[in-house]
C-alpha cells in the first residue's frame, strides 16, 4: 500500500511524489511558481539545524521551505512505515 503523508513528516533522504498542493493566494502561488505541483518527484535532502526549514530536491534543483508551508503539501512515499 502506498501511503500519502504530509511533507513536514518526511525524513531526510526520503523520496516521494507530490499528490496534493493546497494553499491559496500569495503563498500558494509562490510554492507553485517554484514547481511544487502534483505529480512531481521530490526528495528531502536536508533540514536546517533547528529542523526548520526543510530542503527538497526536485526538477534538478534544491528548494527550501518552512514546515508551516510544507503542511500544505502531501506526498506519496514508497515507504510503508515512514
Amino acid at each position: 500500500m502506498k501511503s500519502s503523508i504530509c511533507l513536514r513528516r518526511m525524513k531526510v533522504n526520503q523520496k516521494g511524489i507530490i499528490r496534493i498542493v493546497g494553499g491559496q493566494g500569495e503563498m500558494g502561488r509562490r510554492i507553485r511558481d517554484m514547481g511544487l505541483v502534483p505529480g512531481v518527484d521530490i526528495q528531502v535532502v536536508g533540514r536546517a539545524p533547528l529542523n526548520d526549514p526543510v530542503a527538497l530536491r526536485l526538477r534538478d534543483f534544491t528548494l527550501t521551505l518552512r514546515n508551516n508551508e510544507a503542511d500544505y503539501i502531501f506526498v506519496e512515499t514508497d515507504d510503508e512505515n515512514p
Binding site: G35, D60, T64
Partner: protein, 733 residues
Amino acid sequence: MKTPKSKITIALTGNPNSGKTTLFNALTGSRQHVGNYPGITVEKKEGYFETAQHVLHFVDLPGTYSLTAYSQEELVARNYMIREKPDLVVDVVNSASLERNLYLALQILELGAPLILALNMMDEVRKKGMTLDTLLLEQRMGCRVVETVARQGKGKQELIETIISLRTRKDERRSPLRISYGPDLDPVLNEMAAIIQETGFMTDTYPARWLALKYLESDEQIISEGRERSLETSNRLEGAANDVAEHCMKTLKTYPEAIIADYRYGFISSLLKDVVTRDQQRQRIEMSDQVDKFLTHRMLGPLFMIFVLYMVYSLTFLVGDIPLSLIEDFFGWLGDAVRAVMPDGLLQSLLASGIIDGVGAVLSFVPLLMIIFFCIAFLEDSGYMARVAYMLDRVFSYFGLHGCSIMPFIVSGGIAGGCAVPGIMAARTLRSPREKLATILTAPFMTCGAKLPVFLLLAAIFFPANQALALFMITVLAWASALLVSKLLRSTIIRGPATPFVMELPPYRLPTLRGLMIHTWERTWQYIKKAGTIILAISILIWAAMTFPQLPEERLAYYDSQSVILEGDLASLPGDSDVNEKMDEILSQREQIEFSLAGEQLAYSYAGRTGTFLEPVSSWAGFDWRINIALVGGFAAKEVIISTLGTAYSLGAVDEDDPVSLAGRIQQDPDWDTKRAVSLIIFVMLYAPCFVAVVAIARESGSWKWAGFAMVFNTVFAFGFSTAVYQTLKFFI
C-alpha cells in the same frame, strides 16, 4: 558620411542564479550604468555593446522566477517588457534545471514578447551527464535558442549575431503563445478573451488572453488597473473568474491558479520530452548536495558559519591595515603641506582642517571596505549566503523576520562594512510588508562602512591587543539589538503572521573574478562618491559651524597682547645657554595660550554652543561637547563622525609642527577612558540612521512616518542603552 548606427534595445531576464548578471557583464564589460526605475528603487542596470552597424543597449531586468505580481522585482520585469516594448527579450536560463527555468520563458511567450532563449551553464549540463537537443527545443518553443557559458564568455558572439539577425529581418511582433489550460478553464478563458476583444479593454497594452489569465489568477495589479479603466468590464471579468473559481472548488477542490500552474508545468514537460536525455550511468549525487551535508550540518554548519564570518574580519584586518595606514599618512602629509605652504588664515584652515582632514578620514577606509565588499560578493556569488539564510531562518522567524532578512542585514553591515542604504533596498525581496518593515527599521543598527571607522579607531586605542575580538563583539551586539528590537516591533506596532520562505539553494559555484571585481567596485564607488559629494559638503559646513562666529575683538586682542608680551620676554633673553630653562618656560606658556585660544574659539562657535548646550544631558552617557558636535554631524552621514572628531581635535590642538593623528590625540586626552569609548560605540551603533538611509526608509516603507519613527526611536533607544552601560561601568572602572 557615416550613417548613424541603429540602436537595438534588449531586455535581459531570467531566474535568480541563472548567470544572468555574469552574461550581462560579459556582454557589456565595464560599459555599465546603474540607476533606478522611475518612482521605485529597484536597481536598473544598463550597458552597451557596439558593432560596426549597431549599438546594442542591454537592460538587465531583476531576476525573477515568474511574472506574477508577487514582488516588486517581478512587477518591474513584467512592466518593462509590456510598457517599454524592448526590441528583444533574452531569457537567460540555467540549462541544468531547464524545467523550472522555462516556467518564466513560457510566461514571456504568453505575453507575446520577442524572445531569445540563452541556454546558459551548458558546461554544468555536460558535467551532469545530460544532453540537450537544442534544435528540437527551438522548434517546439518557436523561438531562437543559443547555448552559452557566460562565465567563460562562450556563446556571446553567437548571441550577438542572433540578436542582430532577428532585428535585421524585422520580424513582426509575434502572436502570443496559447497554452491549453484544460476543459475547466479554456471555455471561460475564451469567453473572457472575447469580452476583452469586444470592449477593447486595455488591449492597447496587453494581449487579451493574457489579461483573462491574470483575472483568473486574481492578479492584484492588473485587476486594480482594470477597475480604473472600466469598472463595468472589470466587474464582468471578475464575475466570470469568481464563478469558475467556485466551480473548481466544488468539483476539483482546487483553485484556478493551481490549475494554471499545473498546465504550465505539464506543457513544459511535453516540450522537454526527448529534448533532455540523461545518462543513467552517470547519474551521481550532486557535488553541492555532498558539500551541504557538511556545510548545513546540524552542528558543523553553524560552527562553520561563525568561522567564515570571523575569517572575513581577520582577513580584513590582516590585509587592509597596510594600505589603510599608507593613505592615512598621505593625507596627514598633505594637510601639513597645505599648512606649511599657505599663509595662516581662514582659507588655510578650510583646506587643511575642513576638507583634507574630513575627506581624508573617509577615504582612508576605502582599501578596508574593498576587502570586505570583496568577501561579501564572494559569499553571495558562491551560493553560501543562501545557506546562511536557510540555517538562520528558524531563528529569524522567531524574531518576526524572514531568512531573507539576512541579506539586508549583511549588506547593511551584518558583516561589518556594508551600508544601510543598499541594505534597506535589499529588503525589497521580502514580500510581506511586516517582515520587510521590521527588517528596514532594524538593519541600520548594523555596522555600516561609515560607523566602522569609529569602531576601528576606538578599538585600536582602547583594546589594542584584542582589536578583532572587539569588532566581533560589536557585531554580535549590533545583531542582538536588531533582533530584539525587531521582536519588540513585530509584537507591538507591526504585528501579523509570517510570509512563506520558499527559496532556491543554488549549487555551489566558484565565483568569477570579474564578477567579484565588478560587485566590489560598484559598492566601493558608491562610498567614494558619497565621500566626494555629500561628505565634502558636510565637512565644509561643519568646519564653518566650528569656525564661526569668530571670537569677539577684545578676546582676540587679549590673546594677541599675551603673546606679544611673551615674544618680548623671548627677545629680551640673552643669547647664552644658561637661560634655556627660562626659554622652555616661556615657550610652554605660549603653547598654553594658543591652546586656550583654540579651545575658546571652538567653544564659542555655533557647533561648540550646540555641543555645550547638549552636554548636561549627554554627560550621563559620558559624552563631552566635542563628541556631541561629531554625533550631531553624524545625523547627516555617519562618515562625518570621524572627520568631525578629527577636525574638532585638530582645531583645538596647538602643536601644528608635530601633528599627532586623531588616535594619538584621543590616547593622550585624560578625559577619554574605556567606559566612555564603550558608551560611544554603543551610541554610534544604535542612534538615528544617516540622512540618506532615512530617505531610503521613507521610500521603501512608503511613508515618512516610519522614517521619523526610526530617527526618534533609535536615538532614544541608543541614548538609554549608552547611559545605562556608562553608569554601570562607572562602578567597575
